[in-house]
Amino acid sequence: MVEIRFHGRGGQGTVVASKILADAIAKEGNWVQAYPEFGVERRGSPVVAFIRIDDKQIYDKSRIYTPDSVVVVDPTLVEAIDITEGLKLGGTIIINSDRRPEDFPFHGKFNVRTINATEIAVKNKLGSLAAPIVNTAIAGAVIKVLGLTKLESLAAAIREGISIKPEDNVKAAEEAYARA
C-alpha cells in the first residue's frame, strides 16, 4: 500500500491532479482511492488531496495520516505550513520549485526532489502567466519519481480527463517526466 498527500492552493488543479493520477493507476489494474480534504475549497487557500494505492482492494476508509510521500504543487506552502507532518521517515517530497533539493531545510531527513513544473506549464501555455496550471506537469514528475505508472497510462488519463488543451497537457507531463 502506498499513500501520497498533495499540497496546493485552491484553483491550481491539485484535486484534478490526484484524480488524473488515480485514473492512470487504475488503467494498470491497481486499486486506488483519491479524495480531497473533506470540506470546502476556496480559491487561493491551501488545499490538500490524498491518494491510496494497492494491488488489492482497499478496505481502509479512514483518512491518511502518515503518507509515504508528499507532493507540493505550490512552493509558497513550504514556508506557510508543515508539509512534512506525519510523513514517514525517509519518505519522498516532490516540490514544484526552481530551487535545488538541498535548499530545503528538511533535505536529508527526507528524500527531496524538485521539478520546475511552473516553467513547464508556462512554456506549454497552460493557464495564464500569473496563474499557470501545473497539475499535469506535476503528475508527470510524480509517476516517474515514485514509479507509479507508465507514461502512456498517464497520457491516456490526461486525454480522457482534461478537456482544455489535452495535447499541451500531455506534452507538459512528458517533459516533466523526462526532467524528473
Binding site: 485514473d23 487504475a26 486506488v32 483519491a34 479524495y35 473533506f38 478496505y59 476508509k61 483518512r63
Partner: protein, 384 residues
C-alpha cells in the same frame, strides 16, 4: 468497464443504468454532483428521462411521487437538512406504496452547521416505511441502486441508498460499470398493476377511515417482511450476472470468530483491516457489516452472532436519551434466545470525526477487558 469515479457519480450511473424515467432533485452539499451529472445526462440525451428542477426537497419528493403514480421509474437524491425537509413526503411515498429510489448522503444534522458524515439524518427517517441500504464502497453504491429498484418495484415500497459524506460521496474509487444490456436483463421495465391514467381513472391517497387505514399499514409491514428474502434472492441473481453479491449483511471472517465488530457504512470496511491484524496476532476476530437496516435483518444477525463470544456494535449515530441505534436493534435481535453473546455498545465518528483502525482497536481493548457490557454508552474519540 472499469472507471474511477466519486460515490456521488456512482449514484448517478446507477440511476442511469436503471433507466430512471423521472428525476426531480434539489442540490445540497455533499449531494450536488449526483444531480449535476444526471442533469447533464438528461440534457445531452445519454439518459432518456425527464429532469424536473424544483424549489425544495419537499417538492422533489412530491414530484417523484407524482411520476411514480403515473407509472414512471423515479429517482432523487438528497442529504441531511434536505432529507428532513422531505420528511412528510417520505411517509406519503411509503404509505402510498410508490417504489421510488433515492440516494441519501449521510451528513450530520445542524446545528452546529456541518457538512460532514453521520447517520442521524437517515436514521431519523427509520419509521417512514422506506427500506434503507447502507453502502461501504462506490461499487456497492452503483450496484445497490439497480438492486433497490428491483426490490422496491416487486414490493411497491420505496428504497433509500445511503452513503457517507466525503468518505464515499467525494472519494474516487475504481468502479466496474455494468453493461447496459446486462442491467436490462436483470431489471425489467417498471410496470405497476395500477397507475394514474385517463383511460382507467382512479383516486390515490384519498380519505381513509378507520375501517381501512389499519389494513393498509398491516399490508405495508407484511410486504416489508418479504423484503429480507427478496433482497437475498435478488442479490444472488445479481451475483450470477455481475459477479458481486448484494446481501443483507457482509459477514467477514465471522464463522469461527470469538469477537465480532458490528458495523455499517464505510466504517464497516475499515473494521476489516483491524480484523485481519487481530487474526495475525491470534485473536479470532470478525466483522458483521449490516448493509440493510430496514427491514432489519433480525434472523441473519442472530444466525451470525449466536456462535460468537462477544459482539461490539460501533454506531455513527445516537438516539438521544437511549443509545446507538444499531446497538438497540442488535440487542433486540438477540433478546430471548438462549446462549447469545454479551453485546457492547460504542458511539464514534459523529459530525465526520474520523473512524480509524485505532478507533476499532480502542473498542476491542475495552470490550475484551470486560465480561459484561456497560449500561452507559462508551464514546470513542470524544473530548470530555
Amino acid at each position: 468497464m472499469k472507471k474511477v469515479m466519486m460515490g456521488n457519480h456512482a449514484l448517478s450511473y446507477g440511476a442511469k443504468l436503471a433507466r430512471s424515467q423521472v428525476i426531480a432533485a434539489y442540490p445540497i452539499t455533499p449531494q450536488t454532483q449526483v444531480v449535476e451529472l444526471l442533469s447533464e445526462m438528461c440534457s445531452d440525451g445519454t439518459l432518456d428521462a425527464k429532469f424536473i428542477n424544483v424549489e425544495s426537497e419537499h417538492s422533489a419528493m412530491a414530484a417523484c411521487i407524482g411520476a411514480s403514480v403515473a407509472g414512471a421509474r423515479a429517482f432523487t437524491a438528497t442529504s441531511s437538512q434536505g432529507l428532513a425537509l422531505m420528511h412528510e413526503m417520505l411517509h406519503w411515498a411509503a404509505g402510498g406504496r410508490h417504489p421510488i429510489v433515492m440516494g441519501n448522503i449521510n451528513r450530520s444534522m445542524a446545528p452546529g452547521w456541518s457538512i460532514w458524515t453521520d447517520q442521524n439524518d437517515s436514521l431519523s427517517e427509520r419509521d417512514t416505511g422506506w427500506m434503507q441500504y447502507y453502502c461501504a464502497s462506490n461499487q456497492e453504491v452503483l450496484d445497490t441502486v439497480i438492486q433497490a429498484f428491483k426490490v422496491s418495484e416487486r414490493l411497491m415500497i420505496p428504497g433509500m441508498v445511503i452513503l457517507d459524506a466525503f468518505a464515499l460521496s467525494h472519494t474516487y474509487e475504481v468502479v466496474d460499470v455494468p453493461d447496459q444490456a446486462l442491467v436490462d436483463k436483470y431489471l425489467p421495465p417498471f410496470k405497476p398493476e395500477i397507475r394514474l391514467t385517463p383511460s382507467d381513472p382512479r383516486a390515490f391517497g384519498g380519505l381513509t377511515g378507520s375501517e381501512h387505514y389499519f389494513e393498509l399499514r398491516y399490508k405495508l409491514q407484511k410486504y416489508m417482511e418479504k423484503a429480507p428474502a427478496l433482497i437475498e434472492e435478488t442479490g444472488r441473481e445479481f451475483e450470477k450476472i455481475f459477479g458481486r453479491n448484494l446481501g443483507l449483511v457482509d459477514a467477514y471472517r465471522c464463522d469461527d470468530a470469538d469477537f465480532v465488530f458490528v458495523t455499517s457504512g464505510t466504517a464497516g470496511f475499515t473494521a476489516r483491516v483491524v480484523v485481519d491484524e487481530f487474526r495475525k496476532s491470534g485473536l479470532k476476530a470478525g466483522n458483521l457489516r449490516i448493509k440493510v437496516f430496514r427491514p432489519f435483518p433480525f434472523a441473519k444477525v442472530r444466525e451470525v452472532l449466536k456462535k460468537v463470544k462477544k459482539a461490539a456494535v460501533v454506531d455513527r449515530n445516537c438516539s438521544y436519551g437511549a443509545h446507538g441505534i444499531f446497538y438497540q436493534e442488535v440487542k433486540s435481535a438477540l433478546y430471548g434466545e438462549a446462549g447469545m453473546p454479551p453485546v457492547f455498545g460504542y458511539i464514534a465518528g459523529l459530525g465526520g470525526r474520523d473512524i480509524t483502525t485505532d478507533s476499532f482497536k480502542e473498542v476491542a481493548a475495552h470490550a475484551l477487558a470486560k465480561d459484561k457490557a456497560d449500561e452507559e454508552i462508551v464514546w470513542i474519540g470524544v473530548k470530555k
